[in-house]
Symmetry: D2
Subunit: 380 residues, 4 copies
């Protein structure tokens, strides 16, 4: 029988939902993992909302004070799903309370803000993970495996985009529950921390550290109504960010993110070009991996569209049958299964707070470079 | 607060899993539906397996005798996920016991076997549904909506395929838990009842009744080991079936299914061509709908790839955010939400046993036509 | 130096243009072929049109009387690009005059009409070819090569469609220069002879003879204005035709053609499924071949999109550089190069009149089956 | 009747072939243009090769001395298809001789080298064109039209790539006829002048001037055998170049080119994102244009794949019938038709030498920026 672990989630927004779903279902699909999470407490700003969320998802209790979650000795895991500006304070408190911690990405608003978080979890010796969930899309996990097997040979290029179009209208506000990602105080940055952080985490996981970057940012809409203050205020975030970079392994990177690419909702794509083979992927069809191998017989050489659903594909043996897809929500189930498995085996799942700090440093360098208009080395 | 309904599931195979998952999660995502299912009992052949399944999915009890499920007065819904040859007996018993019934497709092995099932549920007055889950793929639901709005004009053609490749090896056996679909005694037919039934149900839902059919079937592998008997026995099912037909509305149909189409795992596709517009879909990328409208300005006229993930798309407002997909499993959640909503509003969700009987009649006509080599009218 | 061959083309319509273009350019791209065609005479119905066509394409002369082409002893090749009802008479006369003959497909309106054509060319001993140009799309030629190499193993299925949408409007007339394909007297049949003939020729080239067929046809628009008579007359052609069949090698075929598939202009597709591998193709992206090989390492197994432009691909070494496509017109250049090469080497290019007669017999059987509503054996 | 114009082509390499093909065929397809080119003289390095080329393409004469082409008073058009380092000298001589001039791109190795060329043609008052042939891909011409109609609204982003993989092997030499593009003396630069020049020309044609750039280049293979000298020599060109930029209209650009992107032969792609609509294109399927319009009814909103083959599409009325593609070679026919039409109407076709100089200035700025590691303004 799996051992039960009590979970307290801070934040009942979009991420609160994806994480709750993962805790509810991980045991049914990954029953070999020796822990079964129990949704103990949901914590959120509004009493009424928190109560409804608890009823909907099966939490045993709810609260509007996150300190109570820390004080609850029965709680084993604290899961942080609040805006970025609250990550550090809550995570450090949770570490001090000896809780295991899963924290939504990005780890914090800046590297400087994140460093004490890393120190806190390492000092406390608690299991910790930052929720870069895309690593657990089966196609991306497969890509990592193919790269690690050396199939690509020497790497020349890494290219990634994360394109959205939801803030084109000047009527979209900043601040508040739904649009805190547009408020620099809450988010720390715009597309850099929200979207490029995903691209960077995936890229460095697959292709190693980024040494230096050169970036350009733009804020197309200069002022927006702030929901929290009720006033039209300057927009402090980057609406769009493009950067190129050099990886430590000598390959070149090209990254772009924007929320002004009409027609794209969440077009996270990457492509990696090696001496022998290349790999491509696209979040809009997340179960497919593109693969080209130059060593194929030239008469039948071409980009392969791998429909990553067979039972021997990463994670897929836990779901349905070949040909049948899973969705976005399932990536959080995988992440949680890996986290719990890591706890069981005392082999921490990646990325830990420390590993995620590297992504934070790249984001920092990107924003500095964009400001200064020149190359910036990434803090090691 | 949602009222709780106790559920007994018969069968812990692939479909037992998809249905269990739906019951576990429907309330979290469709909390506006005024019922919350509770997994009361799982029933299956092997005690050990049933117990493990109960633990994994959170059933309160398990049994190996399906009659006990009927006798349990606390059970509100009986859900039938066993091989086709057991559908009729169990469904009729459940109807007599006054249970609501969800039955996996096809309703039975033949129309003749299905007819008393229809009579039983109608006599008992119990809510009933056949699990043609693909109707609840958001893209297919959207297609139905677009057709019903009259956007296509007069319909000329309907085309559907369901292609797989998992039985090409002669070493795949028949019978047993994993391969009962290859045993004609359990399944009734091969691809006709298993795969074409889905195509036919979707087609008639979208395009109205099929009047007459002309079919060809083939059994490529003539003998297979039977897991149940341990002997090599003749294969009684159709490995492949192709038919063309005439719909009552004057349009022509072309349907094909096989388990010998190398490279396709579950390639359920359909296309419908109307006077003004056409629609296409493909299960391997189930969240996309193809749409062509001849009335578009000719300079920008082309097939549109609709990424069916926005909040105003069928069912999608209940899941994540635009651009993020759901998977196969979620279609059963939608189906269950609709079923429960139908119960609440006393407007039965489709297809009921009676509606599904029409698909059974088409399958019957297809198999007769293939045998006789001539057109066959479909029983009305 | 290449030897010059004088060419007389009968017909200055769409096919007259594609053939003229081939003659003009074959030597520049296939200079290893030891013949260089010279455009000697264009023959067509209207003096003024013929003259303009001659000027435009560089013909030395023009005429409105095709017999003059036969009488011109300097002419080596007669090329027949007129409606189907004139093929037999002209081809037989050309054979008697000792000309080499290229005839547009289909060979004739019926097998009965085509038989004396075959006899005439064989008696005369003249080189002859029917213009099933799609065999010379590099991707299709490659497909044939892969099949002949045995890469697919035992064949289970062959599937082909040819979908158009240009006759949906009831205002499209029949008869005349532009729409003789809708007039049964000129065309012999509708989509069967015009479009399915291509599918059938390709299919039998790749997969061997078709033994028997079972078909359905429909004429959606029953009456159309006849340009030749000025009257509204019954439509005698098939607007749509679907058939399934059995190949001699035991595989199953499924073919469909229509001019009522909104959104498709010339969607000629085929797919062939073998034990080990499958191949697919689509005229709308004619330079790509899809290939799936089950023997690939399962971690990187998927449909390959082969961009057939490299120099080692069929015909492509004669054109540009890798990555750069050719179009539809170039297929006629290939066909002509093969024809001339066959003449030089005394190894006739395919399909000869005799080979094309087999396609005619399949078309005949399809139309008979559609009329009788039962299976029909194909004349051997 | 069309007036004949005599043509002298300098260079019988890849571009000599594409241009010869255009001159041979333009009148057959664009007979409304009042000029019919005559292939008078081909000029190239090797006597034997030049003679064979003349025979193959129908030139009346050949020479190995380009000055003779200038001296031939019968020649109306000089067409320059030699390596970049010869463009200036030949073009200036041709201008002085009063010839019309078509010059392959890039105009020269640098802006400084190109400036006197512009002055020469303007002083001489001769028609002049730089062969940025991709502008005449029908899908790209259509894109320009849609943008000019204002369909996209305010532009936010422009993104273009040109990816190849043909120089990954260290055994590929530099210099000589086949690989002069790798020799900095002949080419001036690597992918910047060869490939990005196309992207930049298209981008500025569609989206207006580029104001400033920031670039990174890399030479992955540092030494290659030089065919001309027989020695292993340092490689002076850029193997890869990435840059981002700001357009004068406030939109952001992101450009990348490389010859080390395994799996891509000539993957020229662009995407432009506007407030209301976006457009995308890809050379590997050059007859398709992607278009997304946010103003579409949300239920049927999606990326449209426009198959640019209908008769009302740019240039396509001159070719075949809807659904049937043209290839790469045809873009040079279009370019020539436009050039001749411009001569007839005294409205010069674009891009003239002066217009192409702007692209040269962007390339210059890109290379300077890459060297200096900071933003560079583009010469206006």
């Amino acid at each position: 029988m799996a051992k039960q672990l009590n979970v307290g989630i801070i934040g009942y927004g979009f991420m609160g939902r994806t994480h709750s779903n993962a805790y509810r279902n991980v045991h049914s699909f990954f029953s070999d993992v020796p822990y079964e999470p129990v949704l103990k407490t949901i914590c959120g700003l509004e009493e009424k909302e928190a109560k409804a969320f608890a009823e909907r998802w099966g939490f045993k209790s709810h609260t509007t004070d996150w300190h109570k979650v820390m004080d609850d000795k029965s709680i084993d895991i604290v899961d942080i799903c609040v805006p970025n500006n609250y990550h550090a304070e809550i995570a450090i408190a949770a570490a001090k309370a000896g809780k295991m911690i899963i924290c939504e990405k990005p780890l914090a608003r800046t590297g400087k803000e994140a460093e004490p978080m890393v120190q806190a979890v390492e000092k406390a010796g608690v299991a910790n993970l930052v929720s870069f969930n895309y690593r657990r899309v089966p196609a991306i996990t497969l890509a990592k495996k193919l790269i690690d097997e050396g199939r690509l040979g020497r790497i020349f290029h890494y290219r990634a985009n994360f394109l959205q179009d939801w803030t084109i209208s000047t009527k979209v506000p900043q601040g508040g529950m739904a649009t805190w990602r547009l408020d620099v105080k809450a988010a720390g940055s715009g597309v850099t921390g929200d979207l490029l952080a995903h691209c960077i985490d995936t890229a460095m996981w697959q292709n190693g550290p980024i040494a230096s970057v050169c970036a350009m940012t733009e804020t197309f809409v200069k002022e927006r109504m702030n929901v929290d203050t009720g006033k039209v205020e300057p927009v402090g975030i980057d609406d769009a960010c493009t950067f190129f970079c050099r990886f430590k392994n000598g390959s070149l990177g090209n990254f772009e993110s924007t929320r002004y690419a009409r027609g794209h909702k969440a077009l996270f794509t990457f492509e990696i070009n090696g001496e022998h083979a290349s790999i491509g992927w696209d979040l809009h069809d997340l179960h497919r991996l593109s693969y080209f191998d130059h060593r194929d017989d030239s008469q039948v050489r071409g980009w392969r569209s791998i429909h990553v659903t067979d039972g021997d594909m990463p994670y897929m043996g836990h779901w349905w049958v070949p040909g049948l897809q899973i969705g976005y929500g399932e990536t959080f189930v995988h992440q949680l299964a890996d986290f719990l498995d890591g706890v069981a085996k005392d082999k921490p799942a990646s990325p830990t707070f420390r590993e995620a700090l590297a992504t934070q440093y790249v984001c920092d360098a990107v924003l500095v470079s964009a400001k200064n208009g020149k190359w910036e080395n990434v803090k090691a």
